[in-house]
Symmetry: C2
Subunit: 347 residues, 2 copies
């Protein structure tokens, strides 16, 4: 159907975003129709209002937001589009919640190729569809060349928490077991190798993935889970420190139990990175009562996104809230917060 | 209380944001604690998780998101902080909804003064508090100098729609009355005069304001309202065209009925702008059955944010969905969509 508003269709192959696409008039409407609605097609978005209307199930909801400024925009295993869907779905899921809806706000730099924008938005649409979590409302702004960097995407999600589930970063208790859902460092190493054109013999792929289905299986099987968190920026080490501080406890982990791929380990050694601080985008940390840990581990391993799960340590009493690691050589060291920037713009 | 994580407090007077504040480690945690939590203090944000947990009233919810890239960041009558709160509250309210909660995602350019960031976040906190709509979760990213422009803020809001209210852009019907809640063009002219250092004798202030309380009075008094929309980017003209297109109707408005301040009119003439296309941030358009229009007008005028409300025209049948305006000289002209960019980065 032709739309009298747009006598000429956008040139999605050779065109670029210009300032008029952010001005709120006809050009904005055309960008929304021919790029965003085309790729994110769903009934709620098609309402065409400045907000989406829906009736969530009664009960406790969670809301989470995440800005994505990753560079480069396309990387082995994903792109900023699917990452921005997975990232917020995961933040919602880490409350034990079932994600319901997403919003997306785009800040696009003038001159950005429409072709790249279409690829990114299609990747978002596919990720949202695969996850069963539609993007129901959005916004587009354009900034002048040199005032942005390609595209930034801020997604926000809401989800519903099943009755009886109480998961929060302040609920870790001495004696609890600490689990991780798979190998660490894949995402950060993938980005860095792409950014630096390192060309490793084995290409390392980002682990970007939506974890809500894994979480649903986990909370159904072990509703007593105390904490869930995805170790993104700052990596496993920083996330454990956050949880230790928030819960007022210490943690004791064992290096040999932490899953890490041989090629990621090798790349980290080459680059002088500590994999404990490297970002992940498809992994989670779970803390649960010790007597439920083996059952939780079995549930996680039975899920495709948790097949390499491991118990990596235990929560201990410590008024200073330290995270300590027993190293492979039988020693012990304090695993502190990430102090500065290890890898900028990793997500 | 001193926090062992941060032995030295941030220098909020002379310090700047650096890349480490976006890396997710200790510096990020300190920025969140000493800037964001300090200014946005509320119980839900203090949960300290990557998501906020709450129990909304049962019923229909709406969700809306808006990115804010306004330049300059500070302008007569407001700043990007309060604007980002008002903008999303208004998008939620335009469904007739009562806004409940906001999230905020910050994308900050390396080198941005902490002093300015504190002013902006305090302004957000004050706007959120005045509106009774807390900012319950957030995210902070930092991009390298020259890859952003000071700060961009994406806010997302959710709200609950009262039973019996059905407001949507596709519900305008021939015969309906069109109302506007006050003078148009104030925001856009304020930004432009500041940007261009025009120094008018009378400083023109942005009308940035949260309209949810006005909307609550309107839907309580006239639940039959068909459409509500805030004429931001693209101004009154573009918003009327959106509604006409969405509802499959035409619109007939009268120039002499449209409220506009003398100084805004003069500034527009000087700058070669058509005030119909200039952005507003504290005004709304309402469309309702003709026989309820006078009652709705009286309700709007009784509210401080609607005291200059006016009935500006009527919805008509028109298969081409034109917006036509009877001019002051007795003629008539088509008021089309904003075609290109009139004022970039106005919100």
């Amino acid at each position: 159907m032709t739309d009298r508003r747009f006598p000429l269709r956008l040139d999605l192959k050779r065109g670029t975003v210009d300032m008029s696409h952010g001005a709120g008039g006809r050009a904005t409407a055309q960008l929304i129709a021919e790029v965003f609605q085309a790729a994110l097609d769903n009934g709620l978005l098609a309402q065409g209002n400045d907000q989406a209307l829906f009736s969530p199930p009664a009960g406790r909801l969670v809301m989470s937001t995440d800005g994505h400024v990753i560079s480069p925009l396309f990387f082995p295993g994903g792109d900023i589009g699917c990452l921005s869907v997975h990232g917020t779905i995961n933040d919602v899921a880490m409350a034990g919640a079932r994600p319901l809806y997403l919003s997306a706000g785009f800040i696009i730099e003038e001159g950005f190729p429409l072709d790249d924008l279409v690829r990114i938005v299609q990747s978002m649409g596919e990720a949202a569809k695969a996850a069963g979590v539609p993007i129901v409302t959005g916004d587009t702004k354009v900034v002048e060349r040199g005032k942005g960097d390609g595209v930034f995407i801020t997604t926000t999600g809401i989800g519903v928490v099943p009755d009886g589930i109480q998961i929060s970063g302040d609920l870790a208790r001495p004696g609890d077991a600490i689990l991780v859902s798979g190998s660490i460092g894949d995402h950060g190493v993938s980005i860095l190798s792409k950014r630096e054109n390192l060309g490793f013999a084995t290409e390392i792929h980002s682990d970007t993935a939506a974890l809500h289905d894994l979480v649903a299986a986990m909370v159904a099987s072990v509703p007593e889970i105390h904490c869930l968190r995805d170790p993104t920026r700052g990596g496993l080490a920083t996330t454990l420190n956050e949880l230790a501080f928030q819960s007022g406890v210490g943690m004791q982990i064992r290096e040999e139990c932490i899953p890490i791929k041989a090629e990621v380990s090798a790349a980290c050694e080459l680059l002088g990175l500590d994999p404990l601080y490297v970002a992940n985008e498809g992994k989670l940390i779970a803390i649960c009562p010790a007597d439920r840990a083996e059952h939780l581990l079995a549930t996680m391993r039975a899920h495709p996104l948790g097949s390499e799960s491991a118990i990596i340590g235990a929560v201990v009493e410590d008024d200073l809230h330290f995270v300590q690691m027993e190293t492979g050589f039988g020693g012990s060291r304090i695993v502190d917060w990430l102090a500065g920037e290890q890898l900028p713009r990793i997500c």
